[in-house]
Symmetry: C2
Subunit: 271 residues, 2 copies
């Protein structure tokens, strides 16, 4: 209390004054993405306190824990241990667990929505967006569960926007554009959550092929009177590829959307 706090004591007053400005200006210009280690490089002399907490480091650690141990693996205590602090420290940077999960999902989905490479056709662009989400959830199954548990607007909106632009490019009439984009949107998120549920249902160890084989065998043994259809597609259940089926579903919706399209303006007019 009464002790002099050594070397940093001399800078204290100056720091107090600049602390407020930091997050809004200097941090933003020098490091767009990292809000983190900037703190250490600010005066330019030392690198100490690279281990300081920050929202980014917390979210990154959360993603690590979720990837490693699944949805049940993310705990404020485990996270605190991983970051070598107490659980209370995390609450200074993150409001609660919900916000943490949302931020983690956001981090994982951001890359899926990052590049806007020009595709040959609107259909291909839609498939690219859809597969981006699919693959992100495939790599991080826990993110699928969180999908629209309310991932923060920007990331989700960016995906929706990208789908919608292609819908416009497909010459869908204005009145039907929302419907078309929403249908794709619902399907994409739906499959994402479904895959998350599948991943959660089986142990992290068991692979998909074995699970499908088991389910397929069950379907093949169903009562022929009650389940005539399901029995006949038992083989297709066993042999199907999740990603391909997902794409096939996208194509079915695109097929339906194409019948909504207006005739091309500069083409020959039918009467």
């Amino acid at each position: 209390m009464v002790m002099v706090i050594s070397s940093i004591e001399g800078r204290t007053e100056l720091d107090r004054a600049t602390l407020e400005r930091r997050s809004s200006t200097q941090l933003g210009t020098t490091f767009q993405i990292c809000q983190d280690e900037c703190m250490a490089t600010e005066t330019g002399d030392t690198r100490r306190r690279t281990d300081a907490l920050s929202r980014k480091r917390i979210v990154d650690a959360a993603v690590e824990l979720l990837d490693a141990a699944g949805e049940g693996g993310l705990t404020f205590r485990a996270l605190a241990a991983h970051l070598k602090t107490g659980p209370g420290a995390i609450y200074w940077h993150v409001a609660n667990k919900d916000e943490l999960l949302t931020a983690a999902t956001d981090a994982v989905l951001t890359h899926a929505t990052a590049a806007d490479v020009a595709e040959d056709t609107p259909e291909e662009a839609i498939r690219a967006v859809a597969l981006g989400v699919f693959d992100a959830v495939d790599a991080h199954p826990w993110a699928g569960t969180q999908l629209s548990g309310a991932p923060s607007q920007p990331t989700m909106l960016r995906i929706f926007e990208r789908l919608g632009r292609q819908i416009q490019a497909l010459s869908v009439p204005t009145a039907a554009q929302f419907t078309a984009a929403a249908a794709l949107w619902n399907y994409i998120l739906g499959v994402g959550r479904q895959n998350a549920a599948n991943a959660r249902a089986h142990e992290p160890g068991t692979d998909r092929t074995a699970a499908l084989a088991t389910a397929s065998a069950e379907w093949a043994n169903l009562d022929p009177i009650e389940y005539p259809f399901t029995r006949t597609v038992a083989d297709q259940l066993r042999d199907h590829d999740d990603r391909e089926e997902f794409l096939a579903g996208i194509n079915l919706i695109l097929g339906g959307i194409s019948s909504l399209a207006l005739p091309v303006v500069d083409g020959p007019t039918r009467t």
Copy 2:
């Protein structure tokens, strides 16, 4: 221990012997659905012990709690209080909370899959099944979250089977039947979970209309450069009806499926 257990003591030996058979035979024939109060009516004399625990009473109470207080409202302690017992008693009839949630979801979805009324067209039959699931989730939002967290096979399979039969009726080639049924299936479950998420996001009090108006206003104020599409459909977001949009999505998929259909066999053959 040493005390005589009064009137029921005389029947004990006989009951022991029949107890095993009961659940497999007598119960099944007399009461197909209720596994519950049968216990009281078995000897035909008294109605006492109607308040005895049973899997059905527990699941019913769980549905009540979930409907009344949402997903957070279901607690073994709250459930036990509701049933006037201790939490431990429930575990005699139900393995764990997951099984309880699955059973509750199953109970709520069963009615949606119950009647198999003959519809005019396969398309209408598919719409009927889809709306059955939609309305069930609409009435019990918590059930949407559980959808294929692994609802027990019978209920889910029955829905899948019903969709598949109509796919067959639409003359979809065998090789594409699984894909077509799975796409509908994924879309239906996807929207169900989405609705559950929507319901969870907003307070039980706030109505949908107000929430849509707020979101619509946000969309309308988005940056025109970054979100040209989303801005233009802000009005459609405000005015749309969830149920109609859901149906429109089903119709888009049906449109895509129709293009897979084989030409009708007894019709004129095209060359």
